[in-house]
Homo-oligomer: 577 residues x 2
């Protein structure tokens, strides 16, 4: 019987039966479904390690003490932690479909992630949210959503969609939607922008949380930002910034992911009484980073290494996040809480040995238990695999005789410099041609410019991951290869490609919205590393990431020069050059 | 225009206008409605005193820093605290109508109370909840409700109503209802009682909190009680009991009221990292206690006296409670929070000098600003003033020749002893007659028994406050005065009376459900003190409270002997004697 056909009274009676079962197990009148025998566990309420059997029934913890179970697992000598929670991530950053992301993070003790499907929504609009909701149903991690607040990220972007508050409103009724994701348009808040405020008010009308994104704001700017209802920030890189926000009532998501690593700068917060205002998040995690370092477990381990009390580190990674998001039945080991566990060897090594989600073992010694892939409805699946609407291009589409701005790369940074003008490719001076091709609506818009410092000596490199609108971005030493690379990506329905002389040297196919693939993470990483190596062999400077660097070249909020589908823009002056 | 006629879109647009106003004030583009200049204020997030002007617009704090306002109040040298919150009280215990209760607690910095209208609901059923909701609308304190979970308190009681989950269900939709009040039927939980579990499940279905009441339970009993979803307890009197509950995930309401004073026994909790799991509550506050000692301010002051960090004490009294009840816009001084302030001289004296509710001054130097009394609809008002349905009684209604149990009083305690049997009043042995008269439904039920240790030498004492069913209870030296006293209470539509030889010596009229009056608290207290003095002069032992002692005589959950409308009962054996 479908739940929606159930009357309120029938629902209450059904739950009475369940509760009576839980009471019987808690009282010891009936065996538990599962008992973790002789557990040493992290008690996030009393801030201590406690001892006892942990009894589980129907996916919930029902008691700690002496219990018998249908299944009993002796966990003597290990430490049972509440499952770990990532407070803010864009799942798309892993390049893996959610089921493969789950397979990659479960061994690290992750049981819940809060994702903002910002990337796919910029491509597919609200279909992107629906796609991700369906693609995360029933996974061995619980994926919760914050609705993208800024699609497109700026009015300068040509994204696949343009969403106002009405477009996302009905998603708040979905059981796995927790609120409105990072409101990065903080100047809009300060200016009293109507569309921005509408989105915030609608989230509040649904009693949902609103995450922030506002590096370094302070004083009256910060007051206005918090006063309208932005509850958190994940952009702090030093304690001064974080303390200003804490004093104003915001929660701090201490971010340590692939692109930004702020734990070291913020670790002192976790040694103060206000650590209860902190959570951990990654924001983005690229394949190699996930495979080599881990996930939230890696942040906890690092924090302990910096001298943070291990109990506090675990609490920040579980309980604090759950409480912030009002996920009140997780993030602790106590009766009534979900039986989500990360069982580690000890605080020093912090090796995750077993993982449980709602009382089901999902991983043992790194081996993920098999699970069924979610079923995505036909329309959405087709839609996700058909997001490139670009006519076949030829070299002349990239030909241009007018002077264009030269974007100067800075090794190891995502900011760029203004390197003046150029009228043609000049390999001697490392001046290459760069283009952004609108790919959502077949508008034919192509923005052209030049880039200096990338190092490519022959061929072209292109990617369909280009923040935040995910048009196709290509850099080349000649226009033929640029056209060839872009056509190749369109044929592949998305991804990354490295070409030379009309030959494909390396490819990462990202057939889901041009952002993700169904491949497993190891395969993705192998392909990515191969493509990267090919790019280096074509001359790309080894100090820079050939693809990530390009991915940020079209984001017109990072100084100094960027390239959009309309041309090179001076971000500071907000003017095309 | 009524809010219910407003479309969702119109509501969003109206709120956009309001938010733009708030942003303008926060940004300093427009003067604040009110500025507390040069404030030193308690920052509950960073656990410190901060400095700055506090700007208020439309009842909310919008920023701290340098601000100008239409109204400016210099608060140099004082300390601004978030308004105080009582986490659990039965407002009826003050004997005052809610408006007079408010007038009494506002000078103590109280801005929010969470009430359980358990007493009036036992008399009036759900009309009692409606009455209290209406009687608290628009007061200078925000009164929030937990719905009574146990009406009647036990199946042995003859109350004015018998409420299952369906009866209270629609009240969860009211904007000021926060959850289900103290689930005192903890044996029912452990036994898997269907009616008890239904009430808990219904509260959860509405995403509401469930408060507990379970002194001393531990082990599997506690596990079962917490596993079903009981989030808090206010019955702890020592840290061992409290720590067991904290470890199991419950929040602790540290109670310090009139009948139970647990702060001293629990104060160590407030010196530990888990003080964030604690709140303050009073449970009940009698008139003299409110007038002489104060309210939550008195508990804070006492806690500081016991060595608790003043910042922590204030936080426990405001922020922790607000967060527990998901009243997320109060309990802190930060942008977006309600402008609810208690401004004190200093932490040592802790004199509340000014109080603000939503940016409006409600009290200055003890003087409460005038406010309009709430309007209660005719039907409910009449219903509240007509709750006695008892035929006129005469001495023969109290006459009885069979032996009846003798309830032995213990000075200073609410427990009683089993003093055997008696067949008649014996003033030499201080054996008096006691009776409980069913008064809700004119059933004619009168329970008779004897009481020893009360001390009355002549006349009779009666009250309509008798927990939890609030039938009339009377003690007398002769049957004529007993009948006279009961008839007097019925004529008065409720209250307390002291009579002798057919003359009324002292009266407290409680015309609202037999529990409260519209008089102000000073008047109530004067009348109560006079009646008490009269009772002492008639011989009542000065070591006991003549009325409160009687009020607990008919509560058949406190050992050893009690009297119900059906006779004397042995509470331990749960048998009539």
């Amino acid at each position: 019987m479908s739940a929606s056909k159930e009357s309120y009274a029938a629902r209450i009676q059904r739950k009475v039966m369940k509760k009576q079962y839980l009471v019987d197990v808690a009282m010891g009148r009936r065996k538990a479904d599962l008992v973790l025998k002789n557990a040493t566990y992290v008690n996030v309420f009393s801030n201590e390690l406690c001892q006892g059997d942990i009894a589980v029934a129907k996916g919930q913890i029902v008691g700690m003490g002496n219990y018998d179970g249908e299944q009993e697992i002796d966990v003597s000598g290990k430490i049972v932690c509440p499952g770990f929670i990532d407070a803010h991530i864009h799942l798309e950053s892993s390049l893996a479909a959610p089921k493969e992301f789950a397979r990659a993070v479960v061994p690290h003790g992750t049981t819940t992630v809060i994702t903002d499907p910002h990337e796919i929504t910029n491509v597919m609009g609200t279909d992107g949210i629906d796609y991700m909701l369906q693609a995360t149903e029933g996974l061995p991690i619980d994926v919760r959503f914050m609705l993208p607040s800024c699609v497109p990220a700026t009015p300068l972007d040509e994204a696949g969609a343009n969403l106002d508050y009405r477009a996302i409103d009905s998603f708040y009724d979905h059981g796995r939607v927790q609120g409105l994701a990072e409101m990065m348009n903080f100047p809009g808040v300060m200016g009293g922008d109507k569309e921005v405020l509408e989105k915030i008010i609608a989230a509040q009308a649904h009693h949902k949380k609103i995450d922030g994104h506002a590096p370094g704001i302070e004083g009256k700017d910060l007051a206005a930002y918090v006063a309208v209802g932005v509850y958190s920030d994940h952009e702090c890189s030093d304690t001064e910034d974080a303390m200003r926000k804490i004093r104003n009532g915001q929660f701090i998501m201490v971010r340590d992911g692939t692109a930004a690593r702020n734990l070291e700068g913020l670790v002192d917060l976790l040694k103060q009484p206000y650590y209860d205002r902190c959570m951990f998040c990654t924001d983005d995690k690229h394949p190699s980073d996930l495979l080599e370092k881990g996930h939230i477990d890696y942040i906890i381990k690092k924090a302990i290494g910096y001298g943070v009390d291990p109990i506090v580190a675990v609490k920040v990674a579980s309980h604090n996040t759950a409480r912030y998001f009002a996920l009140n039945n997780r993030g602790a080991i106590a009766p009534g809480y979900l039986a989500d566990f990360a069982i580690i060897d000890n605080f020093e090594n912090f090796n995750v040995e077993m993982v449980f989600k709602k009382g089901i073992m999902t991983c043992k010694n790194g081996e993920v238990q098999p699970f069924e892939a979610p079923v995505i409805e036909g329309y959405l699946d087709e839609r996700a695999h058909d997001t490139f609407h670009v006519a076949h291009l030829s070299a002349k589409d990239f030909h241009d005789e007018r002077p264009r701005g030269v974007i100067g790369l800075v090794a190891g940074e995502i900011i760029s410099t203004d390197n003046g003008y150029a009228t043609e490719i000049d390999l001697e001076k490392d001046i290459l041609k760069i283009a952004v091709i609108e790919r959502h609506k077949n508008t034919g818009h192509i923005g052209l410019g030049y880039i200096q410092g990338y190092g490519l000596k022959t061929g072209a490199v292109a990617t369909s991951i280009s923040h935040d609108s995910h048009n196709i971005i290509v850099v080349g030493t000649n226009e033929e290869d640029m056209a060839f690379a872009v056509n190749r990506i369109v044929e592949n329905r998305g991804g990354i490609t490295v070409v030379d002389g009309g030959k494909v040297l390396g490819d990462v196919v990202l057939e889901i919205a041009g952002l993700m693939t169904d491949d497993d993470l190891v395969t993705i990483n192998d392909k990515l590393e191969n493509a990267k190596e090919q790019a280096f062999e074509l001359g790309v400077a080894r100090g820079i990431d050939p693809f990530m660097t390009l991915s940020f070249m079209s984001l017109p909020v990072i100084p100094t020069l960027r390239l959009t589908t309309r041309g090179v823009i001076d971000v500071i002056k907000q003017q095309y050059v």
